[in-house]
């Protein structure tokens, strides 16, 4: 199943009025995607490499934590690593984030992070852009789990901020 195809299915389902059956078929697909990221997390494990910016975040409502590492090259993200202890929503979301944002520009990544926030807050968002992450749209009706879903994205957001700071410092000192 190519990425392209997954997107199509999804946007199809969500732009038309769906029957109960379509809905549950959709749910099955989303569940598969989430479970896949949960069981086979992408980019999992940290590296000891100074070129990465490392952010450690704790979810205060449960005590779980997550570390995200981002390496950029100019205005492009080169690699994202993630590691933590968290629930299925948190871990799968971090995995999706790491996959989606890698190789994006800093600006694109920031926009996608925002799209993700919009989605989980039940606001209009760009379905096409979020890749596998739209499988987590159900979080919008579980406000108490928003922190789980966004932990990885928040960490990445902080990392991007830090990268931009560093780059600004670098260019200033040049």
């Amino acid at each position: 199943m190519s990425k392209q195809r997954k997107w199509q299915v999804i946007s199809l389902t969500y732009s038309s009025n769906q029957s109960q059956k379509d809905n549950s078929a959709n749910a099955q697909l989303f569940k598969k995607i989430i479970m896949d990221h949960y069981r086979n997390p992408r980019n999992k494990g940290l590296v000891e490499d100074d070129e990465y910016v490392t952010i450690f975040l704790r979810n205060p409502s449960c005590g779980d934590d997550l570390t995200v590492q981002v390496k950029a090259n100019g205005d492009k993200i080169e690699s994202i690593r993630q590691y933590g202890t968290g629930c299925s929503i948190c871990c799968s979301s971090a995995s999706m984030m790491s996959e989606l944002l890698a190789s994006k520009t800093l600006t694109e990544a920031a926009q996608l992070i925002n799209q993700f926030y919009l989605m989980v807050e039940a606001k209009p968002y760009d379905e096409e852009a979020l890749g596998d992450a739209i499988s987590l749209q159900g979080v919008a009706k579980l406000p108490q789990r928003i922190k789980c879903a966004t932990l990885g994205w928040k960490a990445c957001e902080e990392a991007l901020g830090k990268i931009q700071e560093e780059q600004a410092d670098d260019s200033a000192s040049k």
Binding site: P60, S61, C62, P143, Q144, C148
Partner: protein, 417 residues
Amino acid sequence: MSSSLHECCLKRSEAIRNEFPMLSVVENGHPMVYFNNAATAMTPKSVINAMTEYYEEYGVNIARGVDAIGYRATHLFEATRVKVADFLGAERSDSVVFTRGTTAALNLVCSSFGNLVVEAGDEIIVSGGEHHANYIPWQQLAKNKGAQLVLAELDEDGKVTPEALQKAMTPKTKLVALFHISNVMGAVHDVKALAKVAHDGGAYFVCDGAQGIVHDQINVVETDVDFYAFSGHKLFGPTGVGVLYGKYDLLKRMPPIEFGGEMISLVDVYDTTFADPPHRFEAGTMPIAEVIGLGKAIDYVNRYGYCAMQRRVEYLTSIAVEKLQAQPNVTIYNPHNYASGIICFNIEGIHPHDAAGIYDREGISLRAGHHCSQPMMRELKQFATLRASLAFYNTEEEVERFVEATEMAGDFLDILF
């Protein structure tokens, strides 16, 4: 403030009186006249109901786990923090710490921040008009640190003018702690000007808002206070809850003084890292129902608006003062301070508690004593005084009854028979 009532409406409004169940209490055979609002205000039904609702529908602990019912409690609790921040004009809600009350809030600033910044040889300025809650902590801190407690001079209204504060400032002044409104004299401080004097002199400014919050809208950003404390129960809210506002960067520097659940980040065997403010200062189970009740009290105040309440209190207080002054044996110590609803007085030759006995017999509740401000009593050269304190829900008729009872005070022994 478009939804607030005008004075005329407020005056007529039976509806307001109905919102406060305690206004229908009968005391010693008379409908009670409650003129002790500065000690504890009455609580409107909306506040009581909100707390009952908590206990009946979602009376669970907060910030622990992720179930729906816990989320409702946590959400309402944290939403109240935002509401308080808005109410105070604060820029961020995480500069709002919930405490047991003003006293706990001021003690927190003192033992955490005060302890951090005050050193031997420093000076701490307070006034003789402070409530003990904003006096003793600083006094004890000064004593323990080898710092000096300095009393800024009060003017005849019982307040510290910016000039007086300026006079008390020295290069050693590290911190200034003053009331917003005095609970004995009802004097209103120019908080913004005082904070400026303190800051210009390189000192921090702590404001005790226990009375001020009731009668005078504060904006913590405009006035630039570093800390501001108040209690729920004086603001038509419940007992057991209060607020410490602090500038976030100052809170951030402060160590916690109570340790327990929900204020930690990581507990290792021999050390602990603490959560960020405000949770760093909120150890253990918080007064959840009370915080939610406080939120409703703030809604109440916002609905009526400070403006309407203030006008009403000033009006009632001014007629009470005028009528009392017509009695030759009454001395009023604060004849010019209408804004707070506080009238501080004595009746010649009658011990204030004896007079209070007569008021009580007549169903009038007011306070006699040192009002938790022995320094102020010394300034007034009195052991104790009477204090009537009015709220916007009081009426002209009640003022009338109060004045009549004052005329009977000489018969204080009658209460024994």
